[in-house]
Amino acid sequence: QTPVKIGFMAELSGPQAALGQDMLDAFMLVVEQNGGKLGDVPVNVLRRDSQLKPEVANQIADELIEKEKVPIVAGITFSNIMMAVSKKLTSAGVIVVGGNAGPAPLAGPQCAANLFVVSKQNDQFAEAMGKYATDKGYKRIIAMTPNYQAGKDYVAGFKRVYKTPLADEIYTPLSQLDFSAELSRIAADKPDAVYAFYPGGLGVAFVRAYQQAGLTSKIPLLTVSTADGTTLPALKDSALGVMSASAWGPDLPNPANQKFVADFEAKYKRTPSEYAAQSYDAALLIDSALRKTRGGTDKAVLQTALKAADFKSVRGNFSFGANNFPVQDFYVFEVAKDAKGNANLKTVSKQLTAHKDAYVGDCPMK
């Protein structure tokens, strides 16, 4: 039986490399555990580094479509890469199984039958944190994110749930790794809390700067995708007390998750991140679908198989909404010492249950 080709496009170099690497590792974990197979059919995973450059991603897409003729493309860490390639891939009949990026347009008007996002819609973590901030009754909150689409989505999502107008919104260039100026502004402004989104390497620089500026103790830091498995190993105790909203945490008490965390730590000697978890689920999803189709890659059949989402998610309850974006629960975690004395995410509370994203209505698919 000829192996099924799966294109895996992720950011494997530069400041954001950690995310892509986690996604790749988790994905490969599943493949290797099944002896190089998914759904009992051998798969050939073509890993590609988009370098976080749209035009590079574009060329990779061309290559995967025309040269490699892959039926499935997985991975895709960042929204801007997703936006640059999703249309090209889907209209070429390739099935996209997004492992992280879930930009609003693709959940709404531009949704496609062969575009699946296993992770979440970008706004959803933010919505969870917005709910938490509301419950806490914070009055003055400053939002701070990198100046790119995902950053803006995360602020939008937060504001959708947290109704009080934000005290301020700070957008920093994506390449900026020094936040002294902005943090001084915050220190002087003294808000009730700071809401921030800085993925990967940015997150390390940011949280550390926040702690060095002596703010962690004074002003609660509410984050999404900032203090997680990719950054905690580097942040260590400097992240203690940071709040983080997500659909997944290492201590979620479902068996699939306990197996995942154990296997991942065993193989890679580090705690997995939510990116790893999502990508792990993506692999499981593809596994389930291919098992249904017996390795058949006929688009229509495979789509229905995927849509069924017939697999045990490490995030517990999981199903696809009309727009092929997940319907799932969301939690808020706090960075605290775990049993081994390492700084790690500890569940604080479940904020949203079986939560749909805000754009499913705009999606023509029903």
Partner: protein, 305 residues
């Protein structure tokens, strides 16, 4: 309150300026004296950071790490100058650009091979954790240390250039290399050493920023552009120029990031301002440079020839 904020922003600007100065000093020396465009200067910054990070992981000593970072970069620079770059001194600037671009690629990729794609993180020494209370605002001790280091190096270079034999020779050979040689001084060796020192300064900067930003492949590229901006504004070959220009650029950039958004909000409605503000802030130093060059094409402190 407004003032204490302004003050700490000022400090932030100075601190960025000092880093830029450390970077530009070497660049401007090499460029001004050997008339050599070394785009790979940013690579030595990166290598310094990596070497330091590696050493820190082994020794846990911040200072030893610095020693390793600077020393390693200098040795490497020495070798490369001997093997390849010195052949390019008398050549067209574009050949130099081509060659050093090649070096950048090589170094960026090699560190990726050795240390992996993920950023390497280095912690700041415990004795510099926490922040100092200055009046009614506090400032991270580590950043203060960077400022101090920058000032010390500036003073050191100034003394070296203006008070010592070597400095005299360096200045002399910047205008009349042949005459210097004909008077019994090995100008070539002088060049090699100068090149190494330049690299060392870049590495020093790399070592110092390690704990603030994440150490990663390609971290030198954008910084290099900033350094070029600085030396052009300051006047190529002028250490003094580099110092003031670095401070200016640091302040302009920081102040822009700090106040541009509010300023833009005065003029545009919120959503437009939130988009325009950061962009304008990032544009600011380039606007600044364009203005200065348009008025003083030779920079603020042109070196007399």
């Amino acid at each position: 309150m407004i003032w204490s904020l302004f003050f700490s922003q000022l400090l932030n600007g100075v601190q960025l300026g000092m880093l830029l100065f450390l970077l530009s000093a070497g660049l401007t020396l090499v460029f001004g004296i050997m008339n050599f465009i070394n785009l790979a200067h940013g690579s030595f910054y990166m290598l310094g950071a990596y070497f330091a990070a590696a050493a820190l992981a082994r020794t846990d000593s911040f200072l030893l790490a610095g020693l390793a970072g600077i020393g390693g970069a200098m040795l490497l620079a020495f070798a490369i100058e001997r093997l390849a770059l010195r052949r390019l001194y008398t050549r067209d600037h574009l050949d130099q650009v081509l060659a050093t671009l090649g070096l950048i690629m090589f170094f960026n990729e090699t560190v990726r091979m050795v240390w992996g794609a993920q950023p390497v993180f280095t912690a700041q020494p415990a004795w510099l954790n926490g922040s100092l209370q200055l009046g009614d605002f506090s400032y991270p001790a580590y950043r203060l240390m960077i400022i101090v280091a920058g000032l010390l190096v500036a003073a050191g270079i100034h003394l070296l250039i203006h008070r010592t034999r070597v400095g005299m020779l360096v200045r002399a050979s910047s205008t009349h290399p042949d005459t210097v040689a004909a008077l019994g001084v090995n100008a070539r060796l002088l060049n090699t050493l100068l090149f190494a020192v330049g690299a060392g300064l870049a590495a020093l900067a790399g070592w110092l920023v390690g704990p603030i930003v994440s150490v990663q492949s390609g971290m030198g590229d954008n910084v290099l552009i900033l350094a070029l901006v600085v030396i052009v504004i300051g006047g190529i070959g002028s250490i003094r120029g580099a110092f003031y220009a670095a401070l200016l650029v640091g302040l302009v950039d920081t102040m822009g990031r700090a106040y541009m958004p509010q300023i833009t909000r005065q003029f545009f409605e919120r959503s437009v301002a939130d988009a325009a503000g950061p962009a304008l802030a990032s544009m600011l130093i380039y606007l600044f440079m364009a203005l200065i060059l348009a008025v003083k094409p030779a920079g603020l402190f042109p070196v007399r020839r």
